[in-house]
């Protein structure tokens, strides 16, 4: 990996504007760095305390999702966050490519509110889910920033129909007053470009 590509890991996308075209470009650069990453450079390994704190966050997030505690889950995201499920398995430009979901903070709140109405028929009954998080790699970004790449397996059961989702997640985390918080979560379904069943629970 070139030094230039690694340099994208030091970006914080909302520094310079949130949701404008430059912001999309910075996100795409970060994803490009994730995708071309070789072995994590030793110089970018977070210290042991940070690794433990992030492990704790990942497990906590999975537990909140599995228990449908989505309002609490929202509190793990920053005000300038993006939660993004692409339709491609490459790195197409998010400003020019439709996604399964592309949520800013407001959209993510609306999504949680929709599921909370009790009238979201796609989740009535709710999909039972269990998240497994594995293959966790961490590397430091800019000050108080850490990137996480990990694999996920989500076991689901919708009204008796059992199925799985899997792929990898890319996270950019930032240390805020309340603790480590999610700036970007990119959910990379391994078959995002192929037909998908009901994914209207929260990945």
């Amino acid at each position: 990996m070139t030094g230039d590509a690694l340099a994208a890991l030091d970006l914080d996308p909302a520094e310079g504007g949130y949701l404008d075209l430059g912001w999309y470009d910075r996100i795409a650069q970060i994803v490009g760095a994730w995708r071309s990453l070789g072995e994590v450079p030793l110089a970018r390994l977070p210290d042991a305390d940070t690794q433990a704190a992030i492990q704790r966050l990942l497990c906590y997030e999975a537990r909140l999702l599995d228990q449908e505690r989505l309002v609490e889950w929202l509190s793990l995201f920053t005000q300038d966050c993006a939660y993004w499920i692409p339709t491609d398995v490459e790195n197409r430009d998010p400003a020019k490519t439709v996604a399964w979901e592309f949520n800013d903070r407001r959209r993510l709140e609306e999504r949680v509110e929709r599921l909370g109405t009790g009238r979201a028929y796609s989740q009535a009954p709710a999909t039972r889910i269990t998240h497994l998080v594995t293959n966790v790699e961490m590397l430091t970004g800019g000050a108080d920033r850490v990137h996480v790449l990990c694999n996920f397996l989500i076991q689901t059961n919708l009204a008796g129909r059992v199925s799985q989702r899997s792929g990898w997640n890319g996270y950019l985390l930032r240390q805020e007053a309340a603790g480590w918080r999610i700036v970007i979560k990119r959910v990379n379904l391994f078959d995002a470009d192929l037909p998908q069943d009901n994914n209207s629970f929260t990945l």
Binding site: T97, V98, F102, S122
Partner: protein, 448 residues
């Protein structure tokens, strides 16, 4: 009028079951077999999808020579490509040798397709150009008789490419009937800027018969009920916006359902949605405010709003029977998989020659309905399939809204219209279904 067959039945009492498919219909009802019978599904794939024009793809999906994408026309696998000389071509993706799919990639750029099994190869105009050790077939063997099959007819209307497996179809313009003018209106929204269809697509798998999807596309009855979760959230946050005009008896609202002929139909929400500014009626999506502000700075408020209105959802559900559904800014293609499984492709669209901000806004808006609305529709399709499959004692499905109310009339464009909640679309497309399927049945029994 396209609904004649079903309308006549409505006044003639319950008809005696006749030979063929008409026993599946009675006034205001269709039989559950249409959704659950596997033999009927196979006949649909052979006859309905074999005897009418089907949408293949948009020319912009294969912009350069040798570009290709693979598709299904119903179940038939095809390669949609642009030849070396720049012509759009549709090739049936089935090796004339042993039947294997010749091209197994989703998309790419190739002048030559080589079957992986015995390496028979074909140029992208379908000609067989290579057969290893062909001498073994004997001297009378003709390579030219082993080209890739091509549909009997391929034609395009303003970028929309259609194909038919039989010659026995009217020309494409005649087939499109009243849908042609609506397609024009959809294409011409922003000064006729070219529509581009290569900015990603979503493929939804639904465990339901393909016609549950088609039923819903023209259903102006369900929105305030099926989509209440979405409407509630946005109303609570943003007030009188979006589809809040679906309230009370919304058959009195200026919304309509229209029969465009040959099974094509439309729900038209434009009189409500686009009466002032569709953009201003639209709930926010990511990037809305920041990109709107940028456009106003660059182009002034009037031009910015013109561009934004032209890129907000079209307010049309334009249903071109049997596999093309244009909804908002998206192009949907219905791909039946089995009697109880369907893939719905949602192709996103951008416009050529507009500011980048407009196309980014289009992307974020086109993510809106699929994950806030379509997911609930899909749940309804699957719930219908379950009930239809598992209660054989209840044979009939009601499609009778506004059959008896005398509220339909001929619109200024000569097309038949009814209130938005009508089942006009079902009666229209089932009339076309019956006509085409009967042609197939007669052709089969004639051949037997």
């Amino acid at each position: 009028m396209a609904t004649a067959i079903l309308q006549v039945a409505a006044t003639g009492g319950t008809p005696e079951p006749q030979a063929g498919y008409s026993a599946l219909f009675r006034p205001g009802y269709v039989h559950r077999d249409l959704y659950v019978d596997e033999t009927l599904f196979r006949q649909e794939m052979a006859d309905l999808f074999g005897r009418t024009w089907l949408y293949v793809g948009h020319e912009s999906e294969v912009p350069e020579p040798n570009d290709f994408v693979t598709r299904r026309l119903g179940r038939r696998p095809v390669i949609f490509t642009r030849t070396r000389s720049g012509e759009v071509a549709v090739l049936v993706n089935r090796c004339p040798h042993r039947g294997a799919l010749v091209c197994r990639a989703k998309s790419g750029n190739a002048g030559l397709f080589t079957c992986g099994y015995h390496a028979w190869s074909f140029s992208n105009d379908g000609r067989c150009v290579g057969i290893p050790m062909s001498g073994a077939y004997g001297e009378a063997f003709s390579r030219d008789a082993h080209n890739l099959m091509r549909p009997a007819k391929v034609d395009a209307y303003r970028g929309f490419v259609f194909a038919a497996m039989t010659d026995d179809v009217p020309d494409l313009i005649t087939h499109l009937a009243g849908a042609r003018a609506m397609l024009d209106q959809w294409i011409d929204r922003d000064e006729g800027r070219a529509v581009i269809v290569r900015n990603g697509d979503m493929q939804f798998r639904t465990h339901a018969n393909w016609k549950t999807v088609y039923d819903n596309a023209g259903d102006g009855y369900h929105p305030p009920f099926s989509h209440i979760s979405m409407l509630k959230v946005f109303a609570a946050r943003y007030g009188d916006i979006d589809m809040q005009y679906y309230k009370g008896d919304f058959d009195d609202a200026p919304l309509l359902s229209k029969d465009l002929g040959n099974g094509h139909t439309m729900l038209d929400q434009r009189p409500s949605m686009h009466s002032e500014s569709a953009w201003k009626r639209q709930h926010p999506h990511p990037s809305r405010e920041v990109l709107e502000a940028q456009l106003v700075r660059q182009f002034g408020e009037t031009r910015a709003l013109e561009m934004l209105d032209a890129s907000t959802g079209s307010g049309m559900n334009l249903n071109i029977f049997p596999n093309l559904l244009i909804i908002g800014n998206q192009i949907q293609v219905v791909e039946p998989v089995s009697v109880r499984e369907t893939i719905v492709h949602w192709f996103s669209t951008t416009l050529e020659g507009v500011p980048d901000a407009i196309n980014t806004i289009r992307m974020r808006m086109q993510e809106d309905f699929p994950s806030f609305g379509e997911v609930d529709d899909t749940a309804q399709f699957e719930a219908c399939q379950d009930g239809l499959e598992n209660v054989p004692e209840m044979e009939w499905v009601n499609i009778g809204r506004h059959m008896q109310t005398q509220r339909g009339y001929q619109d200024a464009d000569g097309l038949w219209r009814e209130p938005i909640s009508s089942d006009l679309h079902l009666r229209s497309y089932y009339a076309a279904w019956l006509r085409i399927m009967e042609q197939g049945r007669r052709a089969r029994s004639g051949a037997a």
